[in-house]
């Protein structure tokens, strides 16, 4: 009896035989559509990333839960000490901590690129007649969705905790757009790193050792005015601090045009330099 059951289940799993006639017809259809535009191919890769989120939803956990933990932890841990009260500190901290947790997650892009490039599937992508940057841009487009989701969750949690943006809905929206633009540009550092390093662990350790000093040596947690004189100009001028100034200003409704312009220049620079390096590494792989 047991034997019969086993046999039935293998029969169900076994693929049906190849249908040669059908295969012949497909081979002879000879339909060759025009190659997709650069944007269409990037969109197809973005769709692939979204499907991966659908099949492995756990990967969203990191991105959505981590920011909430950061927000709660820093507000209630440091609020009293730094700003004399959690309410005031939240008002200062929220834009910064949003930048910090979302910019931190850009390193996942580099790790995904690294995991992909060592698998057979990227051989297939690289033999397709498509725009060479499409797989990377596709990743980044899908990541924009994750970042926007993380931003919305942090903002919602902040509102529940008592945060009120003086810049109104328009200010918040512009601030988030600025953050997304910067993340898109900054991610090219990690795509390049993902292509030139051996394993995703290397990507992780190198990017973490860049991100930790870059995010902590900033105006995210504390006002640089409280720092020693030699450190202040350094901290105030990192791309992260400029971005935080921009986002914070937009949320607060103070029209921070200088910081916004600097952030956009940094972004263009990241795309130009690391976009070029990424494509060169991809072509030489």
């Amino acid at each position: 009896m047991a034997f019969t059951e086993t046999k039935t289940s293998t029969d169900q799993d076994a693929p049906a035989p190849v249908e040669k006639e059908r295969l012949r017809r497909l081979l002879n259809q000879g339909e060759r559509p025009a190659p997709p535009s650069a944007f269409a191919s990037a969109r197809a890769f973005a769709w692939r990333s979204m499907l991966k989120i659908k099949h492995v939803p756990e990967q969203l956990g990191d991105i959505l839960v981590f920011p909430i933990i950061m927000l709660l932890m820093f507000t209630y841990l440091f609020g009293g000490a730094i700003a004399g009260g959690t309410g005031d500190y939240l008002q200062f901290l929220l834009p910064g901590i949003m930048v910090m947790s979302i910019v931190m997650t850009t390193i996942y892009t580099g790790m995904s690129v690294n995991i992909d490039i060592n698998k057979g599937v990227s051989d297939r992508f690289r033999t397709l007649p498509i725009w060479r940057a499409a797989p990377m841009v596709g990743y980044l487009l899908a990541d924009m969705f994750r970042y926007a989701a993380a931003g919305a969750i942090m903002f919602g949690t902040g509102m529940i905790m008592g945060y009120r943006p003086a810049g109104g809905a328009a200010g918040v929206l512009l601030g988030v757009v600025l953050l997304l633009v910067f993340c898109f540009a900054f991610s090219w550092v990690w795509t390049w790193l993902g292509l030139i390093t051996r394993s995703e662990k290397t990507v992780m350790s190198i990017s973490m050792s860049i991100m930790f000093p870059l995010t902590f040596l900033s105006n995210i947690m504390v006002d640089p005015a409280t720092m020693p004189g030699w450190l202040r100009p350094v901290v105030e001028n990192t791309p992260i601090s400029q971005l935080v100034d921009g986002v914070r200003g937009l949320f607060d409704g103070t029209s921070p045009s200088g910081a916004v312009a600097t952030t956009l220049i940094w972004s263009a620079g990241f795309i130009a330099v690391f976009g070029f390096l990424t494509l060169r590494a991809y072509n030489r792989k």
Binding site: L23, L27, P36, A40, W47, G120
Partner: protein, 318 residues
């Protein structure tokens, strides 16, 4: 058309650090045929294929695919070729149908056309029942077929198949062979790498044998085998004590060299080239029967890849 050349490679070289993976490979692959590249692991087969498919830049030498230079104009080459890599060139997290729809979109099909192309391919390859399963749950044979299906979303002029049957069970292997024959029957050129002489023999009209990064022999399967020897007969006897007698009978009947195997009841006779193996085998069996020798097991084999290599590398060494 018959004289068109699909691949012309001259002196391809690729080094990885100190290792010369490919060390001066010349190939000339006529269009519309299956061309076999035969060699053991690490011989340089995959590296050669990767260079021809524009995945690796050669360190030296040049190659053309349907007249397009692989280094000067890789994008023109990419419009002509498809690659089925040694390890499935599929996204394991996605389902079968999602993989094919994604790739169809990347070839430029609109959404409805991509869906219908994917569905047609899954049906033709007998994979409809697994369309919604993630590829990581596929068996080796199913994965291979999906991989080949992905390679013919647009019928390529040249298809690279890198060890398409390594690790497959015999039934899946036969199915892959059938697919390859159908594809080449409709005019696509196939460059197939393999470790199995039998596979090259079954499918390829010409074979290049590669060892340590060099082509050590090239020709039709017939030429290659006759250069090595005709094959052998292996016998297992019922009684150990009849082995010496059997050896004499076989040596007389076949006028061939007969060796005693490590197995105490087995003998191996190397057949002479230029004669029909089956006729020689039948003759050997009837002579043994007349002499009253009991045979338990009888097999007629082509020279194995090991024998081919041994013969070819000895010649190169000499």
């Amino acid at each position: 058309m018959a004289s068109e050349t699909a691949i012309r490679a001259e002196g391809l070289v690729k080094h990885f650090k100190e290792i010369k993976a490919v060390d001066g490979v010349d190939l000339e692959v006529p269009a519309g045929t299956v061309y076999g590249v035969l060699g053991p692991n690490g011989a340089g087969k995959t590296t050669t294929v990767r260079m021809l498919a524009t995945l690796l830049r050669p360190d030296a030498g040049r190659a053309e695919v349907f007249g397009h230079d692989i280094t000067a104009d890789p994008s023109a080459v990419r419009t002509q070729v498809s690659l089925t890599g040694q390890y499935a060139s599929l996204d394991e997290d996605l389902t079968g149908v999602e993989n094919l729809v994604l790739l169809s979109r990347l070839y430029g099909f609109g959404k409805p056309a991509a869906r219908s192309r994917a569905g047609d391919l899954l049906e033709a390859f007998g994979l409809s029942h697994a369309a919604g399963k993630q590829v990581k749950a596929y068996s080796g044979g199913m994965r291979r077929r999906l991989d080949i299906a992905a390679s013919i979303i647009i019928t390529p002029k040249l298809l690279f198949l890198d060890e398409p049957t390594t690790g497959l069970d015999p039934r899946s292997r036969n199915q892959v062979w059938e697919v390859v024959r159908t594809i080449v029957g409709e005019g696509t050129t196939v460059l197939l790498t393999t470790q199995y002489l039998e596979e090259a023999d079954q499918l390829a009209s010409r074979i290049a044998v590669i060892d340590t990064g060099k082509v050590i022999a090239e020709g039709t399967p017939g030429q290659l085998k006759s250069s090595v020897g005709a094959g052998s007969i292996k016998l297992r006897l019922h009684h150990t004590d009849q082995r010496e007698h059997a050896r004499t009978v076989l040596a007389d009947a076949l006028r061939a060299e007969v060796e005693l195997d490590d197995d105490p009841v087995a003998l191996i006779a190397r057949l002479l080239p230029g004669q029909d193996n089956a006729v020689q085998g039948a003759h050997a069996l009837s002579e043994l029967a007349k002499a009253g020798i009991l045979v338990d097991d009888f097999s007629l084999g082509q020279p194995s890849l090991d024998e081919v290599f041994l013969a070819l590398t000895e010649r190169v060494g000499a």
